[in-house]
Amino acid sequence: MSSQDIPEKNLPTAQDEHGAAVAVADEENPFADPGLPPHEHRIQDIDERAAKRSERTVALLFTTSMLATIGFIASYVTIPIDQNIFVWPIGHISALNFALGMTLGVALFAIGAGAVHWARTLMSDEEIVDERHAIEATPEVKAKVIADFKQGAKESALGRRKLIRNTMFGALALFPLSGIVLLRDLGPLPGTKLRHTLWKPGKLLINQNTHEPMRPSDIAVGSLTFAQPEGLEEHDHDFQKEIAKAALMLVRIQPDNIKDKQTLEWSHEGILAYSKICTHVGCPISLYEQQTHHVLCPCHQSTFDLADGGKVIFGPAGHALPQLRIGVNDEGYLEALDDFEEPVGPAFWERG
């Protein structure tokens, strides 16, 4: 028995002679198909007054639709776009949106309800039977098609003239390469772009709220501050691209509570600067638990311990948050002492 053959006896028709194939009811087989039950008339089929009522209902629904469409146009013309109304229990919503939506909804729904009611009450509900026909072609048709195909194949001489066949396949296989080559200019090559951010030695940390440089005294213990590199402005052409890598969060922890030696060394008086971009898939991290020094990504709940080198303590992130080495300059402002040592954000193949 090959894996494709199943003996007939395993198929239901062979094992069960009382199946659906038996169409007539008889004494011998109480399970036989009794055939379609007789049609039962609806009230509309026998009572013309009921039919009239149905007709009026359908007409009423269609008329409702017409009125609703007029209402739609009237709402469009009369209701100002900035007007709000209170609709219980939803609250304050746009009056125009409410009026247009409701009138359009009613206009459409009434057409549908009318058509369905018409079909259900007034059109014939007598079931009719169609025969099905096998989809597979008859052996004669199949034989004819195969003969035709063979004839065509023979006349093309594709099988015989191998040179034509092989070069044709070669040409057809090669030409899509042009299309692939054309996609090359979709974007530049990555190079080392993902390894560098705007941070470099001496760059001041600018508070994202005040847009001013910060002194250590500006940052209280237990606070969370967001910062960006000096010189990056929201109007800049590449602001989005640069902030996507350079966004920084600053927290201040009592130096005694910092568990990791390098974390302490890279901080300034307990002020720690970490990349704000999650190392999982790049969401900005923003939920800070001041007591535990944990920070949680609101997207996928990766949790990092900022007192311990930004180590992952829960969730799907694969590596610690990169820390930025900071200090203060001669004027007492916080500054970066270097770029991030490793790429920020999600991991990638070349990250190493």
């Binding site: 199943i6 069960d16 039950p37 247009l100 009719i128 974007g187 530049p188 989005q240 790049g282 954000g345």
Partner: protein
């Protein structure tokens, strides 16, 4: 004109017939209508699910065309000067700006936007439920396997059309979703970084993705989907619709109402019903309020970020996965992201290939037009419920933060629950569902053999109490016994025709094992035979 049969007083055919004659001479419409005008469609409430999908697809196209008249698929930064006061003076992309314009300054623009988005949610939900209807009733069996695949492709393409669509306004929420996608693409070994740079025209977010997503969202994907929808419908017509077993309904006929007039009115009317309901929802229930989310900035985010529901299971995968990262010869293998990225298509393909697995196990090559009741295919039903359970576990994972906050649970506990349930829940669902199916089969068997429990208790002269069972009508008896039951396939002979011991291929052993688990003893309840029925009914009336 020679075929004209009806003529009016002046000997000319009515205008409608003359137009039809004209068209017939060029398009052959009479031959086309001959088979289709009175085509019979069976009736069942669950058959409306596919219609809902078709109609919401049409609604999406109509409203989508309107939205393109106002939407600017550009990421150039502009300052907002529209009528929504809280955002005035904000920098935002033109995409966001024009979506604000549609929502606040185009009369009816907000309504159309909301209809478009709501219809998309209904479309995907409709396809999901329709697919499950087809699955649980076995409507995917020969000759409909290809249509199953078309439908599956529509579901998958619908997901991506939805994703590229809700990313277009370039708001804070959707931008976060696109960033997630960038992270996922970056995780692909060797080529990930290159793919990401080509996709975004450089570093994320760049200035290109809205325009590129726009082309994909309004042209590429809907174009393919429109073709698939047409093919799907042509095949529905060609195969003729399936029907449930019942008196007069056989595998060789189709019983129901004709297309003209009943289904033209019912189905045509249903389009308006669906459109009307979605319009009312769009009037009452706000969806994707981009003005309260604000324009996208890669360094900002809000809590409770969720994709649209149909992407939720992929979100669950990425949230539940442990953060595995491996150093591989100086390169980083980001398994914590890449594995979910690979499971994502596997989840979908798992359900898509099922019809082919089942047909291999049964070896049945006949056409099937009578639908199964889910209980009568216990293993298939159990597989389907296990898959849905799997999918729902992932959905829960995708909303683990919401489950944590709403039910006051620890986010870690919810995540661990999802990690374990991902493996365990489908197995439990499989076992439980199969038990329930077998129980229902037993009940059907009892009903056939002993009749319906009437609830009337009778006391016999000698004091015994019995419950009267009413015998079923022949219609009911037929309906409850019309389903087919397979017998398990056995491994072929151990020796070949020469008496030499043959090597039994592993596939054959596997199939025999699967077949036993589908149709073996204890895996389906044998339906009552005529002999059993006669023995019981010819006896002493009851029991």
């Amino acid at each position: 004109m020679s075929t004209t049969t009806t003529t009016d007083a002046r000997g000319k055919a009515p205008a409608g017939e003359r137009v039809a004659d004209w068209a017939d001479g060029r398009l052959g419409i009479y031959s086309l209508a001959k088979a289709n005008l009175r085509k019979v469609f069976p009736d069942h409430p669950s058959f409306m699910l596919g219609e809902i999908c078709l109609y919401s697809f049409i609604i999406i196209i109509l409203t989508g065309v309107y939205l393109t008249l106002f939407f600017h698929p550009s990421m150039n930064e502009v300052e907002y000067t529209g009528s929504y006061v809280p955002l005035q003076g904000q920098l935002m992309s033109e995409a966001f700006n024009s979506t604000m314009h549609i929502s606040f300054d185009v009369r009816g623009g907000l309504l159309i936007r909301q209809i478009h988005h709501w219809a998309a949610l209904v479309f995907l939900a409709g396809m999901f439920v329709h697919m499950m209807r087809v699955f649980f009733t076995g409507a995917f069996r020969k000759p409909r396997e290809i249509n199953w695949v078309f439908g599956f492709l529509l579901f998958v393409l619908g997901m991506f059309t939805g994703f590229t669509g809700y990313s277009l306004p370039d708001d804070l929420l959707s931008g976060t979703g696109v960033r997630f996608m960038e992270g996922a693409v970056l995780s692909v070994p060797i080529v990930g970084t290159y793919l990401s740079f080509f996709l975004f025209g450089g570093e994320f977010p760049g200035g290109d993705f809205v325009a590129r997503f726009f082309a994909v969202h309004v042209l590429l994907l809907p174009g393919i989907m429109l073709g698939l929808v047409v093919a799907h419908l042509i095949l529905v017509f060609y195969h003729k619709h399936t029907q449930f077993a019942g008196p007069g309904r056989t595998n060789n006929n189709v019983v129901g109402m004709p297309l003209m007039p009943v289904y033209m009115a019912k189905a045509g009317g249903f389009f308006f019903l669906v459109f009307g309901v979605i319009a009312v929802i769009a009037a009452l229930v706000q969806i994707n309020p981009i003005w309260s989310l604000g324009p996208y900035r890669p360094d900002q985010v809000s809590t409770g970020a969720q994709p649209d529901w149909y992407m939720g299971f992929s979100e669950g995968l990425i949230r539940a996965m442990p953060g595995w990262e491996i150093d591989f010869a100086g390169h980083t293998l980001v398994l914590g992201v890449f594995i979910p990225l690979m499971i994502f298509p596997l989840v979908l393909v798992a359900i898509a290939v099922y019809p082919f697995i089942e047909s291999w196990v049964t070896g049945d090559k006949r056409e099937h037009h009578i639908l199964d009741r889910p209980r009568n295919a216990p293993t298939r039903t159990a597989v389907g419920v296990a898959w849905i359970t799997w999918y729902c576990v992932m959905l829960i994972g995708g909303g683990n933060d919401l489950f944590a906050t709403h039910f006051h649970l620890s986010i870690n506990a919810v995540t661990w629950f999802v990690r374990i349930a991902f493996f365990v829940a489908p197995v439990i669902a499989f076992v439980v569902t199969k038990r329930i199916c077998l129980g229902l089969q037993r009940r059907d068997r009892d009903k056939v053999l002993h009749g319906r429990e009437s609830g009337i208790i009778k006391r016999l002269p000698h004091g015994e109490f019995i419950e009267i069972h009413e015998p079923l009508s022949q219609e009911q008896l037929h309906t409850l016994t019309a389903h087919e039951q397979y017998e398990p396939v056995e491994i072929g002979p151990k020796v070949d025709e020469h008496g030499v011991e043959r090597k039994i291929p592993a596939s054959e052993k596997l199939r025999a094992k699967l077949s036993k688990n589908y149709y073996g003893e204890g895996h389906q309840i044998p339906k009552p035979t005529v002999e059993e029925f006669k023995e019981i009914t010819s006896g002493h009336g009851h029991h």
